[in-house]
Each structure stands twice: as C-alpha cells, then as structure tokens.
C-alpha cells in the first residue's frame, strides 16, 4: 500500500518481526503495560525499559470507515480503514480485508492477515475471524 514506510531505532524491532509475520506490541518491563505504537518510554509509568511481545493477532473492530476518495495516487477505492482493538488491549489503525466493504460492523471479531511490502516487511491488516 506504500512504497517506503519509514522506520526508526525504537520501532525497528516491531517492523523486523513483521518479516516473519509476527504481530507484536511493546511491553513495559517495569509495570507490564502494553502499548502501540512503539515509543521510547512507557505511557503507563514513564519507565524506559521495554521489550516487544507477540500478541494473538485477534481483536475486535472498534470502528471503521469505507474510504471512497484516495488521498494519494496509487490507492484503489473503496477500501476499509479501521481501528482494531487487540485482545491484549492496544488499538491499531489498519485495513479490513477479505470481505465486501459494506459487510463490516463495529465490535465484530477479526484476526490479523498480512500484506507484503516491497522490502520484505509486512503490513498487518485484519480479516473476519
């Protein structure tokens, strides 16, 4: 969906895991808080010792929108942008795939799927459970 998604020192482990199609979130080693996107500190306690932990890839649709006008060239409309609330808590912005755009509702269960990126990384998207 995008040619060159940037990466930085804090987020690199998250992106590297996507090469193996592993979805991770950051975990605070001091208070156990899980967060996404990855940061240099824990928003729960301010701690700076964090690692990445695999998550189940299951979640629910918090909300979604069918986009009918592309914000940039190369995107084919319509497509479904969504907030997915992972079973482990954090919320991801993502796409819903594998069903007609009109076939989605809030709160329905979904499971992670993967879209390959040209550089070997993968982008997590979600499909019906």
């Amino acid at each position: 969906m995008n040619e060159e998604i940037p990466v930085d020192g804090v987020t690199r482990p998250w992106w590297e895991a996507t090469r193996e199609r592993r979805l991770t979130v950051q975990r605070c080693l001091e208070c156990g808080h899980r967060q996404h996107y990855p940061r240099a500190l824990c928003t729960g306690c301010g701690g700076t010792a964090l690692d990445f932990t695999d998550v189940s890839g299951r979640g629910t649709v918090d909300s979604f929108t069918v986009v009918h006008r592309a914000p940039r060239p190369g995107l084919e409309t319509p497509y479904v942008v969504a907030r997915v609330r992972l079973a482990e808590g954090p919320i991801l912005l993502t796409r819903l795939v594998g069903a007609d755009p009109s076939a989605w509702t809030c709160d329905e269960p979904v499971r992670v799927a993967w879209r390959p990126l040209p550089d070997g990384r993968h982008l997590p998207v979600f499909a019906k459970e």
């Binding site: 996404h36 918090d62 986009v67 942008v81 907030r83 919320i91």
Partner: protein
C-alpha cells in the same frame, strides 16, 4: 482584572484571490476599527497558520513589535486558546491590547489535500499513513460509525446538523451558502460518499477567509465605542494526535474542556443562550454537544432531532451557518469568536438570538486532538 473583547471582524470570505497576509491585514484593521483602536495600540498578537513563525511573520507584515505573542499550534481550537492566554497576559500586565487573527486562502490557492500532511518523523507516518486514511475526515468518520453503532442513531441525525447549519446560513449574507436555498436530509444522505458514513455534505466547506478579535481589560473596553464582551471562563484539553491515540472515540476532550470552562465561569450549560461549536463535520457537533453537557452521552441525536438547533429553535447553534454552510478557512476557531461577539452585541440581524447574554465558543483541532472552550458574556 477581567478581560473583554472590544472588537471583532471578518476578512473577505469565500473565494478571494487574496494572499494570506492580505487577508490577515484586512481582519486586523477591520477588528481594530470596530474596537475604535489603531495598530499603534496593539502590544500583543496571537495568530497561526501563516508560516514557521506565525506571530513574528504577521508582526513583521503589520509593522508591529509586540510585547507578547502566541502561536500555539493546535489547529481550529488555537483561537479559543489564545483568548485564554491573552486574558492571562493582560491580567499579568505583560500587554494591554491583544489582536487574535487568522487568514487563509486555501480555496483560491487549492492548497488543501485529502490525506493531510504527515511529516516522516512522526509515528503516524509509520503506523497510520500506510493505510490511506483521509486526514482528518476518516477519524471523524470512524467516530460517526461508532456513534451510530453504540447509540442506535441514524445518518439522518448527522444530516440534521448540516440542514440546521444551512437554515442559519440562509439568514447570513456573509455565508458561502447564503442564497443557495435550503438543504434537505435527503440531499445530505445522497451527496457523494467521502469516508463512510460521512458524505461531502457532512463535511465543512473549503473556503478562503479569516477574522480577528481585539482583547483588552474590561475596564478599558468600557471606554471604547463597542459594548464589551466579557471573558467569563475558559478551559482546554489536549488528548492525542494519532487516530488510535484516544481509547474512546465517543469521549473526546470537550468533556474536560467544557467542565473546566463552566467551573471557571461559575455557569452551567443551561445558562448558555447561544453556542458556536466547531462543525468540521456533522459528527463533531453531536459529540461536542454531549461533551459540553448540553445533553447526556448518546442523546445528541435526539437533541438536534426536533429542529431544536435551527432558527427559532430552543437551542440556537452555529448561528453564522458554521463551517458547514458559512465559511471554513482551514482553521475556523476565530470565526466562532466573531459570531459569538456579534450575537452578544445584538448585531446579527435576521439571525439574531433575542436577548442573548451568554455565549459559548468551542474550538476543535486535528482529529478531536485539541479542544478549547470559551464562555463570553454581555457586560450587563
């Protein structure tokens, strides 16, 4: 010391063919003339959306060397924030006369983009932009989708916000849609879908425009030609920038900013005679009505459903026609203040709310990222 708004004005609106700084100059000079003041009286300046150093840029253009400036960058709510900062600066004696101004030529310059501008170093560039959300529309669309789902509301309830805004705009000769005729619920629902459930008619206008207000102490404002509009209270809340940064789409920062503003003013929502709530999208209004306590959570759909916010209704809302039908120059916050001031002065002609003594202006910026509420009152 209490602060007051002593002058208010719009720049040219619509499709102007003017530069940002020309629109700024119009707004400032007209607001100062309204206040019975001149540029020489100005020792404080707050503005945004001009360049890298907005206040310095406008000060340079106007030939000012202000003792106090603010360019807090918060999108559409910044101007309500400036009222708070200016009142504090005047109270502290740092300056005596503040101009809050804005101008945009986004329609003439065709500078608006559907995806917004995501800087490559922010997390959204990695974790949101790849999915192609429209910025900011898709966030508000997701809030609207969640709203319909959680509260059993219908798209018709969203549409009523746009219909009511048009009714007001038909009474405002400065409105972009003045003379466009009434808008129907069916027309809103049938407009091209942009980011479901929001159609083009659920979205604010894209126009040129601008405005300015002049603040000084209430004591001094009483010696100036226009009736002072008193700053009664203010409150803010800044919650997130990313589209996943707020856990609950249906509980935006207006809940906190409104509570803070009402507490400072010693007022309750029922005391407000006329409200100017940022209407970037129809859903913005429903959630802000709930956030500010004009109705309970999940009740805004029913609250607007009986024409309550239309002209002649019990709750006059966005009496200029709002961002949906009057003007939306990218950051609408200053024009919320201008309309609130005019209502409290009784200058609004066919759209005047009779006897309005207390007004509320609520600005929203980004993707419900920033919120600022200002309560204003007639000096009676």
């Amino acid at each position: 010391m209490t602060a007051a708004i002593a002058g208010a004005a719009e720049s040219d609106l619509g499709v102007t063919g003017k530069s940002v700084l020309a629109l700024q100059s119009q707004a400032v000079t007209r607001a100062l003339a309204d206040a019975g003041l001149t540029l020489r009286d100005v020792d404080g300046l707050a503005t945004a959306g001009v360049s890298r150093f907005p206040a310095a840029q406008v000060a340079d253009y106007l030939g000012l060397r202000p003792a106090w400036t603010d360019s807090t960058s918060a999108g559409g709510s910044a101007f309500e924030m400036y009222v708070a900062r200016a009142a504090q600066a005047i109270d502290a004696g740092q300056c005596s006369t503040v101009v809050i101004s804005y101008g945009s030529n986004q329609r003439s310059a065709r500078s608006r983009s559907l995806g917004g501008a995501v800087e490559p170093h922010v997390p959204e560039a990695q974790f949101e932009a790849p999915y192609g959300p429209l910025y900011p529309i898709s966030y508000y669309a997701m809030a609207a989708q969640r709203y319909l789902h959680a509260y059993g509301a219908e798209r018709e309830h969203l549409a009523e916000v746009a219909v009511a805004a048009r009714e007001w705009a038909l009474r405002n000769p400065a409105a972009y849609r003045y003379g466009a005729g009434p808008l129907t619920v069916d027309a809103v629902l049938g407009a091209p879908m942009v980011s479901s459930p929001l159609t083009a008619a659920d979205c604010c206008l894209v126009t040129d425009g601008g405005g300015a207000v002049v603040l000084t102490s209430l004591d001094r404002a009483r010696d100036l030609p226009r009736p002072p509009v008193v700053v009664l209270g203010y409150g803010e809340s800044t919650t997130h920038t990313s589209m996943t940064g707020d856990d609950d789409l249906l509980r935006p920062g207006s809940f906190a900013s409104g509570r803070r503003a009402f507490a400072m003013a010693g007022l309750r929502p029922a005391d407000v005679d006329v409200a100017q709530l940022y209407d970037s999208f129809t859903i913005t209004v429903l959630l802000t009505l709930e956030g500010l306590g004009f109705c309970g959570r999940g009740e805004a759909a029913a609250f607007v459903g009986d024409g309550r916010t239309r002209p002649g209704g019990a709750f006059p809302l966005n009496t200029s026609g709002g961002g949906l039908s009057y003007n939306h120059p990218g950051q609408f916050g200053v024009l919320l203040l201008v309309e609130a001031v005019r209502q409290l002065r009784g200058e609004c002609g066919d759209r005047q709310v009779q006897g309005a003594e207390t007004a509320l202006a609520h600005g929203t910026g980004g993707v419900f990222s920033t919120h600022a509420t200002v309560l204003l009152g007639a000096d009676r």
